[in-house]
Symmetry: C2
Subunit: 263 residues, 2 copies
DNA sequence: CGTGCCAGGTGCCCT
DNA sequence: AGGGCACTTGGCACG
């Protein structure tokens, strides 16, 4: 058994493996420590869907927040998992370590891991700091919100995160001629669904407008995204909407306007 | 240094830590072995977005398929990562281990991990078997495809995965009276977007039909899903479409029909 | 807590 | 390789 500096980390090598000890550590440490067990195991999952993984060598991680991950030697995503807040019970019966993990969020979900052989088992305290990501869609919306003239020189923001029956509209602008801009922002390459989404918003505003026909304004759909697929662009053009590549905004070209598109 | 059975696994405890050795093993083993390093590190990410993680204790996993994961003590998803096929370069300069990982898929993406302290480092061969998941949407579509009478007693399948400008229609059925059923299947709880999607398909088929007005059939939107949100249900009803809970199908109640909804 | 929706989404399958 | 889409999506923010 290899142990370091006041149980900051506990590492059990293959020569130290005792499944009763592991099972014991597993239960005792789970509130504070993250457990990492590497070994040959079979996995059964039953819940929203179901799966069965044959015997294979995998990494099992049980975090102190109650999330369970089972990783193989490929892919970013775990082979099997259980969401945060799940409860694992380990069991050393019949000479094999078995871990059963129940989800709290999805009451009926269960992952069972049966180890045929354990190569190493580790307990350690990991940080839970998280991080801030920049350059996200929210930032892009914020940028346009602070500088709506990138859409049209005289445009002012008249709405943000506006609720509709079909979803929330990122931004609504109005320029001096009275045109209304419905702006949908995607931080990624826009596909058909983005155009559909924008279309819904425009249609909704048009239907609202038709209920009070005293003021009738032109409603212009604007899609701001980091690229657009061919079919999406076709659908956008067919509906008479406008596409703006987000890169042309990000590089600070704030003088670029949409006036050339508006007759 | 703890090593077992012909390098099936290599475990370096804190007393064995030599960052030059680790850097060396990191480069030498990356094609076959998955590397797991636990220690205090700072992380910088720059790519589609950007992030910076302060000093914290984390697990770094570099899989043999070239995917990189950095996990903290919470959440199912990694704090930082790099997709499969990425290339990591480790560096032991200035007394600190630094790992830089570049994505092939997103050429400009880079994750840099700078270790202040390493608690343990492990190399092992993991399986890459994957698994088959059952109970997915595809299974549900297949089930209805094989047994369309669950939608309407006389219904026959006349289309599957039918391409439209707004996306693919899961199933199209026709019953003896000539009604057309546009079936959208969701394996999860359906929200507004699902209703919008269904609405698009129906509208599209209606527009197709209006082009050839010799045959005019009633087109009925059907949403099959595992639950539905309140607003989605309202929108569905307002448009005159039909909701079927997928559970009522899964439990084998194949005699249940929709005739009560069809006038 | 339900609902809606973005995500550095990822992974799969199709053309 | 690009596109469309499901996912045991996860995670967050808001009513």
């Amino acid at each position: 058994m290899v142990s370091t500096e006041g149980e900051e980390i506990i590492v059990l090598g293959s020569s130290d493996i005792d499944i009763h000890m592991i099972s014991d550590l597993f239960h005792r440490n789970s509130k504070i420590y993250t457990a990492i067990i590497i070994g040959e195991c079979e996995i059964h999952y039953q819940g929203r869907a179901s799966s069965k993984a044959p015997l294979g060598t995998r990494i099992v991680i049980y975090k102190s927040d109650g999330s369970l991950l089972v990783h193989e030697g490929k892919d970013r995503d775990p082979l099997n998992w259980q969401p945060p807040g799940s409860l694992c019970i380990s069991d050393a019966d019949k000479g094999f370590l078995e871990i059963r993990c129940r989800s709290r969020k999805y009451g009926h979900e269960i992952v069972s891991i049966r180890f045929k052989r354990i190569l190493t088992a580790i307990w350690c305290r990991l940080s839970t700091k998280g991080l801030e990501v920049h350059g996200t869609e929210k930032d892009l919306v914020e940028m346009i919100y602070m500088n709506p003239s990138v859409i049209s020189p005289s445009a002012k923001v008249i709405g943000r995160e506006v609720e509709t029956p079909s979803g929330k509209i990122d931004l609504i602008l109005r320029d001096d001629p009275g045109n209304i801009y419905v702006v949908e922002v995607k931080n990624e390459k826009a596909g058909i669904s983005a155009v559909n989404q924008l279309d819904r918003y425009v249609k909704y505003l048009e239907s609202m407008q038709s209920r009070s026909p005293d003021v009738t304004r032109r409603i212009i759909g604007v899609l701001v995204s980091n690229g657009i697929t061919r079919r999406a662009r076709e659908a956008l053009i067919e509906r008479g909407y406008i596409y703006i590549d987000s890169m042309s905004l990000k590089i600070g070209n704030t003088s670029q306007t949409l006036m050339k598109y508006v007759k």
